[in-house]
Amino acid sequence: MHEFAITQGILDVTLKGAKEQGAIKINTVYLKVGAMSDIVDDCVQFYFEQLSKGTIAEGAQLQVEKVPARAKCNNCQAEFEPEEFFFQCSSCGQFGAQIISGKELEVSSLDIETEP
């Protein structure tokens, strides 16, 4: 993962969403990160602290919710948890599946303060 570009993306989405709600301060940014997206939390936190200086996101905490990988077998439609990007159905043994979850990389919500 390229944490600098990811963090810039987090900040852009955060500030855009906060502005739409008339926020004057952002306390927490809640992220949803799938197991197959994976980011190095410490790197992102560091970059976020630098990039958010001078914005209403300065000082905000990042909270990451990890989403496990789940896939649906193309052959028998059973759902399973793939291990390490290996998409072999645990029910029928066939290869090939649709990814149901695990690739998320999103800002799910913000904790903000608005004008009193």
């Binding site: 993306g9 987090i10 855009k16 990389l105 800002v107």
Partner: protein, 215 residues
């Protein structure tokens, strides 16, 4: 107070990638995003592809490197339009870089655009740039276990080119093992075993391109 956002972090890049895709589709250009480690053979592969298909298709190349015009110069020297993007510190191309480079391509009626991404098996996989196909090159000198170590790029690929097969006897590369590994990650992955140096195995790749590009 808590407010829902539910927005993809890479939405800005994805939106530009969508714009690029529409531009390419409107103009009938098939776009390949070519990715690999440094030295795997991306530029050599492009040169071979051009050599074989330039009489059939109108081709241009976008080169991505941190610095220098070495690769774009090689392509220009054989009379094919090439645009060099220097990313400075960025280790991957993104959709905006491609969008900004399109105006510099001096070719009407383009059929095929090959984008040589920055040499890297990690970051390019994350960033859509508007391509129709993702082609990853792995050379036998790198080892057959790389899909296990860098899974995302091999999961996302449409084609895997295994290059430098003329060197197989000098390495421990296990062709059967890499196929066992990748079938679990990406069963639709098309694999071509080639040597850019000798030309062996490239006919299958040229047929793959001809089946998808409209002159």
């Amino acid at each position: 107070m808590e407010i829902p956002i539910l927005r993809n972090i890479l939405e800005a890049n994805d939106e530009v990638a969508e714009q690029n895709t529409r531009w390419f589709e409107d103009k009938g250009v098939f776009v390949i995003n070519l990715m690999a480690s440094p030295g795997a053979g991306k530029t050599s592969f492009i040169m071979r592809t051009i050599e074989n298909l330039r009489e059939v298709f109108s081709i241009a190349v976008i080169e991505g490197d941190l610095a220098s015009k070495v690769d774009a110069q090689k392509i220009s020297d054989i009379g094919i339009p090439a645009v060099q993007i220097n990313t400075g510190g960025a280790c991957h191309l993104d959709a905006t870089m491609i969008k900004n480079a399109l105006g510099a391509i001096e070719k009407d009626d383009l059929d095929l655009l090959i984008i040589e991404n920055v040499g890297n098996l990690v970051c390019p996989a994350e960033f859509k740039i508007g391509e129709a196909a993702r082609v990853v090159i792995l050379s036998v000198a790198e080892g057959h276990d790389k899909p296990l170590k860098y899974p995302l790029i091999f999961c996302e690929a449409d084609v895997l080119i295994i290059n430098k097969i003329d060197m197989l006897a000098l390495t421990d590369f296990d062709m059967e093992e890499i196929r066992n590994i990748t079938i679990g990650m990406n069963p639709d992955l098309e694999i071509f075993e080639i040597s850019c140096r000798s030309g062996e195995g490239l006919a299958g790749w040229y047929d793959w391109v001809k089946a998808r590009v409209k002159p």
